[in-house]
Amino acid sequence: MGLKQQLEQLKAQGLEQIQNVKDAQELNQIRVKLLGKKGPITEVLRGMKDLSVDERPKVGAFANEIKQEIAGAIEKQVQVMDQLALQQRLKHETIDVTLPGRPVKTGTPHILNQMIDDLEDLFVGLGYEVIDGPEVETDHYNFEMMNIPKNHPARDMQDTFYITNELLMRTHTSPNQARTLESHDFSKGPLKMISPGRVYRRDTDDATHSHQFHQIEGLVIDKHVTMADLKGTLEVVARHVFGNERQIRLRPSYFPFTEPSIEVDISCFACGGEGCSVCKYTGWIEVLGAGMVHPNVLKSAGVDPEVYGGFAFGLGPDRFAMLKYGINDIREFYQNDLRFLQQFQQEVK
């Protein structure tokens, strides 16, 4: 057998061994065995000295070719083995993705504050300032300045927690109208404000009454603000809170501090106006009170009603939230059962 045949044979054996290798270690052994200095190819090449000068380079080149071919096969086999190993590892590392995630607790804002924040943002976008006021008010601001003198029948409408003869828990956020009217500089432009906060009534707490609840007062005063502007503004509020399809309806009402005074109904969001239990089968739901600011209120605060006028409204975040989310008991807002509070985690716009 000539050298060439021997080399051919070595190559065929080597390639077969490489194909059948089981792991990286074995492959390495094969590499050393086949291509190393004591390997069979080197051995064969030692026999070259017996060849003619002509043939030597040819056989040498052929031997190199075989070496490279074997090295290439090894290289390829390394890649195959790596792939296999990776597959093994991935399989080994597989987890159950249906197991629950590690709990990371985030807090839930109180639903009433969500409602208030949302309305604040709406009005700020419309150019309103947010004004705070005291929860302990004077009789003067809570009543007298709001055109509710002593012995006025409307004082019966809002039973009051008095502290002294002159100090009381505010029964509405309206006194902030008077306070703001007194301090506003009309030379710097119109007054547009909302005033959210807690208010108090002398009520026994039950499903529909709470001695503490919330109000958002709104007030816009300028040289020409109309009742149509009030209607348009309330439409924006109703649609923002209860959905774009809502219609509003104004009905005559009475508040001592507005004239004309109105109650505002929205078309029922539960039935769309067909009539259902939410709207007591009328298709409409009463949501807030409003009106054009009474000239006496402006006068008392030192604003000339001949020049300035505008509208005011008072809405109840508690009532809004109860309607919107179907809450039947107002006490739930203040009992703070975590199961109640946390359900409003969901973004509820």
């Binding site: 804002p109 700020v124 012995n151 029948p153 432009g189 109309t226 004309p260």
Partner: protein, 804 residues
């Protein structure tokens, strides 16, 4: 007041508009209608029966067999248990398969073996409230006063086919608490002028002042006091048409005289009172203040002790009525009454309200005086009552009216400028339309120089100023006609002030740290008010609380949070991490508004991490809450300005696990574990709380944030462990390290705290990692070693630290 559709229709042509539709329209233009009541709702097959004969039931001692004509060819037999059943009565018969009150179905049947073709009914059985059924028929069947055609439905005969529209009035519209006022209101809406029957009294030759004298001592509280006498009245039940008007409005018919006063009350809204002339001890009527403790027995049989703030009508000697509230029993109209004194008056509303409240005696009369009445019809109402007594009680009216006092208000004259109307409403209502609305209202008006001069009738005492007239125009023109616009004019930039922004940031931070937001009550129990308060003020108490649970204004927010915790623990919710933002109230002076301090408080109890498949449970500790606090302060850029002091702690806190929070010398608040004894008393698990005075945070100067580039040169970290005495705090060590660390020391981190026998009793080991960095060059080893040496020397000399 419930407005009868049929009665209303006698004044205003309603054009047969559906009552519900009418009610809806009234709600939109004037007065909210609470409901429309149909007295015959749910009833059917109830007819007039004529009892032809009766005989006792053979097997019962209280049942009667009646042969009743029900308009059929043959009479039917009905068994009746009423004691007052008798032959020849015209009665209410519920036929077989009829429905009576309470949705009860009547069937043909047998009673003790005798066939009964239906049932003879009481008024209650067909839906009348017991409180309106005439006394004579209260315990038996109703008997029609006159013959009625048998077999016809009873509903029209009893006024049950009427529809009662329940006006839920606002305090300014008491003018509709009478049919006349209601007719004006509905008429204006329908563009129909109401027509009222003419009042015609015959009057005898005997003048009123020959029968009575009157004087009014308190004229300011009695703007009008008018009397008339009706003699020789024949007391009997009123005709059915009048009784119907009363019972449909919830008033029980008594007798013709009393019924007439109530009828005129409903008609005019003017309360009237009738006295028995012959029971007055003298005929010198005096209206005066009662004497203190003066007694009177009122019509309801109660003896009442009066005060000098109560107005009374006296017969010259004793009170015979509490003015405007209720008459006295001694001068009550009875079946023996022959001569009647009729009183029509106006009393001061405030005075009446106080009297009604004082005696807890609220009547149809007192309610109307409180809310106001049409002072223009006081005289007419008196004449109307006299006329009715002539007609239905065969009375003879005395000639003329005896006037104790009469001072009529002046009719207001107001200008109404159509330009103002449209300016305020944002409308384009024409001058003519406005004139039309004024006509509909029955307000006299004239156009002068483009403005209306309007005369407001006395029946609309709620209208004072032009704005009130604008409201009349607006509502009758229709709010649905109003355009929808948004305010134009100078644009304003809305926004939040610094306090509002800070509050939002504080809330956001606590939410991000996993705390749920709560809202508790600001009014708390007395002993809760000043708990957890370092420097309590005098308590601010309600003068008349509804309950002791909500009687005093809070000076801390923790009490509320603890209540919320208890509430949740009682409902198996034990992991409670909550916060509240709200005001606490500090008294400045008893007669001044308190200081309302914006405050935030948090409470954390239970597990921070619950046991799950992936991790073990971990109960909350001090450092969880402190971590949340640090995050909050970092958001506000104040973390490095707050110090934790462990002296002068609140008694409600664990003395070893709490701190007072200070910014400079200002007290920011506190953080710590609830004192174990308090936890024990209240049966609470370990609970951590914190409270911050947000005003203190607001008072801090805001440092503008200036950014720095991220360092370009490598940092060097060095660890250092040291052993110190147990009482040495981390803050002291960190302070020493920072002050001695040189310019390149960026950050000191504690990464280990250890106590144990190995390092000695009363000792602890702490380990710190120090980060050095030079922003403009690479640090050399020498520089860092130098800094470390200085730090270690300081620690050794200052706190006797043993460096390891």
């Amino acid at each position: 007041m419930k407005i009868s559709y049929q009665w209303l229709n006698s004044f205003v042509n309603l054009h047969e508009i559906d009552p519900q539709k009418l009610a809806d329209q009234v709600s939109l233009t004037g007065i909210e209608v609470a409901s429309v009541i149909a007295p015959d709702q749910g009833l059917k097959k109830i007819v007039v029966g004529h009892i032809l004969s009766t005989e006792p039931h053979p097997d019962s001692d209280h049942l009667t067999l009646c042969q009743v004509d029900i308009g059929e060819d043959e009479p039917v037999q009905i068994v009746c248990g009423a004691p007052n059943v008798a032959a020849d009565q015209y009665v209410i018969v519920a036929l077989p398969n009829s429905r009576i009150a309470g949705n009860v179905k009547i069937k043909r049947g047998k009673m003790r073996g005798q066939a009964s073709e239906g049932m003879i009914c009481s008024l209650q059985e067909i839906g009348f409230s017991d409180s309106v059924v005439p006394k004579a028929y209260q315990d038996g069947i109703f008997v029609f006063p006159e013959a009625e055609e048998a077999g016809q439905p009873v509903f029209p005969l009893l006024g049950m086919d009427d529809r009662m529209i329940d006006f839920d009035i606002t305090p300014n519209r008491a003018d509709t608490l009478g049919m006349h006022g209601a007719a004006w209101e509905v008429g204006a809406m329908l563009h129909e002028r109401p027509q009222f029957p003419e009042v015609k009294v015959t009057e005898s030759q005997i003048t009123t002042d020959s029968l009575l004298q009157v004087s009014v001592a308190e004229k300011s509280l009695v703007p009008q006091y008018l009397l008339k006498v009706v003699q020789k009245v024949k007391i009997q039940p009123s005709p059915l048409w009048l009784q119907i008007r009363l019972w449909n409005n919830g008033i029980r018919p008594i007798n013709n005289v009393v019924d007439v006063t109530n009828f005129v009350l409903l008609e005019y809204g003017q309360p009237l009172h009738a006295f028995d002339y012959d029971k007055l001890t003298s005929h010198q009527i005096l209206v005066r203040r009662a004497q203190d403790q003066e007694p009177i027995v009122t019509l309801d049989g109660e003896t009442r002790e009066l005060t000098s703030d109560d107005l009374v009508i006296t017969d010259g000697q004793k009170p015979v009525a509490i003015a405007g509230v209720m008459g006295g029993l001694t001068s009550e109209i009875t079946t023996e009454t022959q001569n009647v004194v009729l009183e029509s008056a106006v009393f001061d509303g405030t005075s009446i309200r106080k009297t009604a409240q004082r005696h807890n005696l609220h009547t149809e009369a007192s309610t109307r005086f409180e809310k106001g009445i049409d002072q223009g019809s006081t005289t007419e109402a008196l004449q109307r009552a006299a006329q009715l007594l002539e007609e239905i009680a065969a009375g003879e009216s005395s000639r003329g009216i005896l006037v104790g006092h009469q001072e009529l208000p002046v009719e207001r004259k107001l200008a109404l400028d159509p330009k103002h109307v449209n300016h305020v409403l944002g409308t384009e209502i024409t001058t003519a339309e406005i004139g039309g609305i004024l006509s509909d209202l029955g307000f006299e008006h004239q156009l002068e120089a483009d403005r209306y001069e309007v005369t407001v009738p006395l029946r609309r005492w709620d209208i004072f100023i032009e704005a009130d007239l604008i409201e009349e125009v607006a509502r009758l023109h229709g709010y649905d006609q109003l355009p929808s616009t948004l305010p134009v004019g100078v644009q304003t930039v809305g926004g939040y002030n610094r306090k509002q922004l800070l509050i939002r940031e504080v809330r956001q931070s606590l939410l991000a740290n996993g705390l749920d937001e709560v809202i508790s009550y600001a009014l708390v129990k007395d002993d809760e008010a000043a708990a957890f308060t370092a420097h309590p003020t005098a308590k601010i108490k309600l003068s008349w609380p509804m309950t002791q649970d909500h009687a005093v204004l809070r000076q801390n927010l923790i009490s509320g949070l603890l209540n919320d915790l208890k509430y949740n623990l009682a409902r198996q919710q034990s992991n409670v991490a909550i916060f509240e933002q709200g005001n606490v109230f500090r008294q400045v002076d008893e007669n001044q508004q308190p200081l309302e301090v914006p405050t935030v408080a948090a409470l954390w109890s239970g597990n921070v991490v619950d046991e799950s498949w992936i991790e073990k449970a971990r109960p909350v500790d001090f450092y969880d809450l402190k971590g949340a606090l640090t995050n909050l302060l970092t958001t506000l850029g104040l973390a490095d300005r707050v110090s934790y002091q462990t002296d002068e702690l609140l008694p409600e806190l664990h003395p070893g696990r709490a701190a007072k929070l200070m910014i400079g010398n200002q007290e920011l608040g506190f953080i710590g574990e609830i004192h174990p004894s308090l936890q024990h008393d209240r049966q609470l698990p370990p609970t951590y709380v914190l409270q911050l005075n947000l005003q203190v945070l607001l008072d801090q100067e805001q440092k503008p944030l200036v950014s720095e580039s991220a360092a370009k040169y490598p940092a060097v970290e060095r660890d250092m462990a040291l052993i110190v005495d147990h009482q040495v705090t981390n803050a002291e060590i960190a302070d020493l390290i920072t002050t001695n660390g040189g310019n390149y020391l960026q950050n000191v981190q504690i990464f280990d705290v250890f106590t144990g026998e190995a390092i000695g009793v009363h000792k602890k080991s702490l380990a710190y990692r120090l980060h050095f960095q030079n922003p403009i060059a690479t640090l050399t080893d020498d520089q860092v070693t130098q800094a470390m040496t200085k730090i270690q020397t300081a620690l050794q000399t200052e706190i006797n630290a043993q460096i390891r």
